[in-house]
Symmetry: C2
Subunit: 396 residues, 2 copies
């Protein structure tokens, strides 16, 4: 194993080497089916927003300058519906009935909500004492954005507001980063499929469930997985295929110093030396990474312990996938309680969110996924640190 | 319109009337494809976890009680691989090579990591001065959970750790709450499809993009949408179909007091009086709700303004869907900055997360989705309130 590097160095090596994802066009509909895709180009406003002076309340529109002192009623001369051509308000004490979303009739300058008037014999009578301001309840053309403005910049994550904004400017075909095809390879003779019944010394295969759900819930890739026995030849063949055919490779286990840990030597044989192998962190110390080259993808080799898998997925692989889509992962949380970390390695520790901040929940002795149920993410804790409540930590 | 009720009353009416969703069985694989489904039954451990005393490091195992003072080397008599039958450590100064995840050989009581020994001529020589504790690097059987323990309770949201835990206990078919089939109906003559080019007074249809992505990103329903012109007869027919065929109906617009607001009267005709119509909140005051009955689903009628749609979706519809899956929506956030709300109505206001807490971003004059781009949710702010930084608010 090479000398340990810091988690920060590991992050920099990954972010500097990960290449920008390819781009594809998807329909607005499919982006709404699976939200969270990342825009690979700016989206511009195709016209002013709002595109016309827009009525913001159901009621009547008037022109306050036409108001003759003493009189306080307006003859209703028609109805301006939404989606209809703009009407013209004549001079004098006239009103046009208006609907929310309708264009403001020409020469009108204020809307009075329907709740603030009485209607008698075709006349609108505003309630006594009502004050009417110039331009009230009128949403003026171009006050949100002008035609040609960038409404959604490249790198935007397409959630509800973003997709509705895209719809409103007519962007029904979206240029987004392609989801990388990811090969996930797990190894181990002791591992059986979840539906199988284990003998005493077998365990069920659970890494793919964790890794797939994590990548799918972030909508960051299409993942294909394969399980291999601890057989050097079979592993080598599978690695060759994965390296040739996929945009990214993730492996779990087989990278420590055990007798059957074939993965690291085989990857060195196929890809040359790792960019790093060993990070000064707990859990996840044996974590290794191979940079992409002209015809090989980035390879993440995660330690095989479940908590290490989750810690390194959150801390490195998910941010790495985000870098490839030009998103910079930056989240901080503050500690609800003081916390002491008595270890010379950086801690990558699970936390739970509370109303007062986060609580760090170092997994018990256990290396099992059960220890992580209900956790909301991982924080990075410096070696040998005493942290007071309120301290801010990077979260993943 | 009925008298306004408070947002709390509205919440209680919805949560008291929403029925528990039906249940279906899905495969573990499909739950990993679309994470976030909700468990409708407890999942139990099918055996102890770990199922055997498990080695936690690559190295050797010994029995510390066999150690003869002065001597400090162990003859390696074999290798205990993961997935193989348990070996037996003979009495005397012997060691068995062990791999992470392997069963601890019988009569061994401690693991020494490979980094802490030298191997010479078939003997393991621990580094000088090394202290070896009883049971070190051994994960004892049943210390995480016992056979029959509930590892995932009903109501668990199935994310990465939960699905990996399900896999590890053999739960590869999962009983989850069925996703309700939701009909979304939008209305309005002024509205065209996103790919169409609007005339001056038309706007593109954007509510479905927002509502679908919000429901899909929470994995809370299957949504089908339809747009209707402002035609009373057509709307009535569509409402009848939606009420008959779907588990939930969401409508946008047409529930204010405008001349073409057919939705509320038609729903009253078909379903009787609304449970409420009008909530003392801004935005979203005209929000209406019809309780489910024996043969009709719950109906949410949202005001048609984009910011109102998003506020009422976050504040009522998403929590309502969660109630139906026995999840109680409770999230709080704390204010990074002081905030003043000069309105006699409760504010349902968008916020952005920062490292120091959240910042409330009341939308400008605009009612457009663009005003909500980059926001992380909504908070509820009491009427006429002056809030200091650090104050905790309910978040949706």
């Amino acid at each position: 194993m090479k000398p340990l590097i810091s988690s920060e160095e590991a992050t920099n090596i990954i972010s500097d080497s990960i290449e920008e994802s390819k781009v594809e066009i998807i329909s607005l509909d499919s982006a709404c089916e699976s939200p969270g895709r990342v825009l690979a180009t700016d989206i511009l406003a195709d016209r002013d927003a709002p595109p016309f002076d827009r009525v913001m309340m159901d009621g009547i529109c008037i022109n306050t300058y036409n108001h003759i002192l003493g009189s306080w009623r307006y003859k209703i001369i028609g109805t301006q519906a939404a989606g209809a051509e703009k009407m013209i308000l004549p001079k004098g004490e006239f009103a046009i009935e208006v609907m929310t979303g309708a264009p403001m009739p020409t020469d009108a300058n204020a809307v009075i909500p329907v709740e603030k008037i009485d209607t008698v014999d075709g006349y609108a009578l505003p309630h006594e004492g009502l004050e009417v301001d110039d331009l009230q309840f009128v949403h003026l053309q171009g006050t949100d954005s002008k035609q040609g403005d960038i409404v959604l910049p490249k790198g935007s994550v397409l959630g509800a507001a973003e997709l509705a904004t895209a719809a409103s400017v007519g962007a029904d075909q979206l240029e987004v980063y392609k989801l990388p095809n990811i090969a996930l390879i797990t190894t181990g003779d002791e591992v059986i499929q979840p539906h199988e019944v284990p003998t005493d010394f077998q365990i069920r295969r659970s890494h793919p469930a964790a890794i797939k759900s994590l990548i799918n819930s972030n909508n960051l890739g299409n993942i294909t997985d394969k399980h291999l026995p601890d057989d050097e030849e079979i592993i080598e063949e599978a690695l060759k295929t994965a390296i040739a055919d996929y945009d990214m490779v993730i492996l779990t286990g087989g990278i420590s110093m055990g007798k059957f840990d074939f993965v690291a030597p085989l990857l060195e044989k196929l890809l040359g030396e790792a960019a790093f192998h060993g990070v000064a962190q707990k859990p996840g110390k044996p974590f290794a990474y191979w940079k992409p080259s002209d015809n090989t993808p980035p390879v993440f080799a995660l330690p095989g312990n479940p908590v290490s898998v989750m810690a390194t997925m959150h801390r490195y692989v998910i941010p790495g996938l985000k870098y490839s889509m030009k998103q910079h992962h930056k989240k901080s949380v503050s500690l609800a309680d003081s916390f002491q970390w008595n270890n010379h390695l950086t801690g990558i520790l699970p936390f739970k969110e509370t109303n007062d901040g986060i609580i760090i929940c170092p997994p018990r002795n256990s290396g099992d996924y059960l220890a992580l149920v209900g956790c909301d993410g991982f924080v990075e804790v410096p070696p040998e640190s005493k942290l007071c409540s309120g301290v801010t930590l990077a979260a993943f």
